[in-house]
Symmetry: C2
Subunit: 298 residues, 2 copies
Amino acid sequence: MSTIREYIASNAEMVEAALIQALPAQWNVPASLRESMNYSLMAGGKRLRPILVLAAAEALGGSQAAALPVALAIEMVHTYSLIHDDLPAMDDDDYRRGKLTNHKVYGEAMAILAGDALLTHSFYSITQAHKVHGIPAERVLAITEELAAYAGARGMVGGQAADMLGEQGLTKLEELEFIHLHKTSDLIVFSLRAGAHIAGATTGQLAALSEFGNAIGLAFQIQDDILDIIGDETKLGKPVKSDEKQQKVTYPYFIGLEASEMKVKELTEQAKKALLQGGFKNPERLFQLADYLMQRDH
Amino acid sequence: MSTIREYIASNAEMVEAALIQALPAQWNVPASLRESMNYSLMAGGKRLRPILVLAAAEALGGSQAAALPVALAIEMVHTYSLIHDDLPAMDDDDYRRGKLTNHKVYGEAMAILAGDALLTHSFYSITQAHKVHGIPAERVLAITEELAAYAGARGMVGGQAADMLGEQGLTKLEELEFIHLHKTSDLIVFSLRAGAHIAGATTGQLAALSEFGNAIGLAFQIQDDILDIIGDETKLGKPVKSDEKQQKVTYPYFIGLEASEMKVKELTEQAKKALLQGGFKNPERLFQLADYLMQRDH
């Protein structure tokens, strides 16, 4: 069995090779819109969410090829959310992962449209799991419904709205957890459930994956907050202590650095325990991914 | 049989009553995000696209109730596109239909998010045609795929990008028709096809509706251009000659007012002729809608 780093690297490579072709070449799309969409899709990143889709499908013995359109879809949704978050009216960021943000290269109007088009195309991609790979329409429609719920007003967009509205200052840890839950965990939970739906998961397996996803999602976000304080700038691709400079309220702000590190460990154990339920066939990669995320340094 | 005006009024009323409840009340959505979404959903408009969904389902003898979630979805997509089009980085409009635009009331960031959430929720709404009304999953998935294609990079968003890129000045009628086709006709064609899918349309019926939709879509847009020159400001809800003042290139600009009026008539006849194909059960409302759109004064 390859190491988890090799597993991540080879899957990220497969996802990237497919992403660049996700918008059919024969479609008549204005050239600069296509370019703007591809610029952000190809701007790097860990490809964590698509890898979770693939690992969840694998955990149930499902087909990787059939899970790929859904893996691409979630990366499109993640990418659109970053493009819109970076806009001047939102976080007003000029750089992401060391590269100019979309609107700095293509202008604000095109960045808004590229985000809109990526979000729309994510739903197209999902339908191909049925059309090209023959996954039953009921399962693919369940994935469609869940993406719309987890990424929409009660999910990721709701979390982003709460984050913006709270920028004047959060006063409770629960408010910060609400934001993390929806801005980060919702898409992670969706990724796992979507991969499982492809393989025909039971209700019990879906519940176990939701619990796993909520725990690693929160751990992931707290680890981000920690790395922002103690991380290595060259590995992170952004200045450390940037949150602190922006007076952004983070997990360590509320409970301190040491307790935050402890919380990441606890959540990871909780996640792995949830996975013991559900009778998964090949859950090894999910276990390894939980540990990997806790130990990452960027 | 009621008049076409009564048909439009009663269906618009039904659509509006359902739209206000489209985002489930029990969902935990930040209050101002919900408010911002509902503000634009409820800001009036002809409700033309949802009415086309219902009329197309009726043309095939299909269920109106089952078509309603799809009718709501298309109005959400239309509404999100208006919110984003009005943003300062795009058309920078302060008023639409006599009301302040979304970002003038809720700020730019919330307007971007409200648009994103409406687009996302449109796909949720479509899935309810299967989940609540029992339309076969294959049909509902076909609608999902078509919405993503007609509203995305090769459809409506592509048309909007081409419009923006062409603002320096279009030189050919074909360029203007490309923009009209994608900014306007694509969603009209989708509306008709989606209503037909609900009722289990044949390939021939779908093709006839596409031809009908492309013709009335272009006629609709040319009529808009004409009304902008000769219309009644109070009925239009915006100053006449506003396109001219903005030096916007329109159909009358290329071929003159009289030839534009002739073109609208021709396209309407062409549309009605297309409908004679396909053996529709109750196509009366579609015929009446084509005539109504040509004669409208706002």
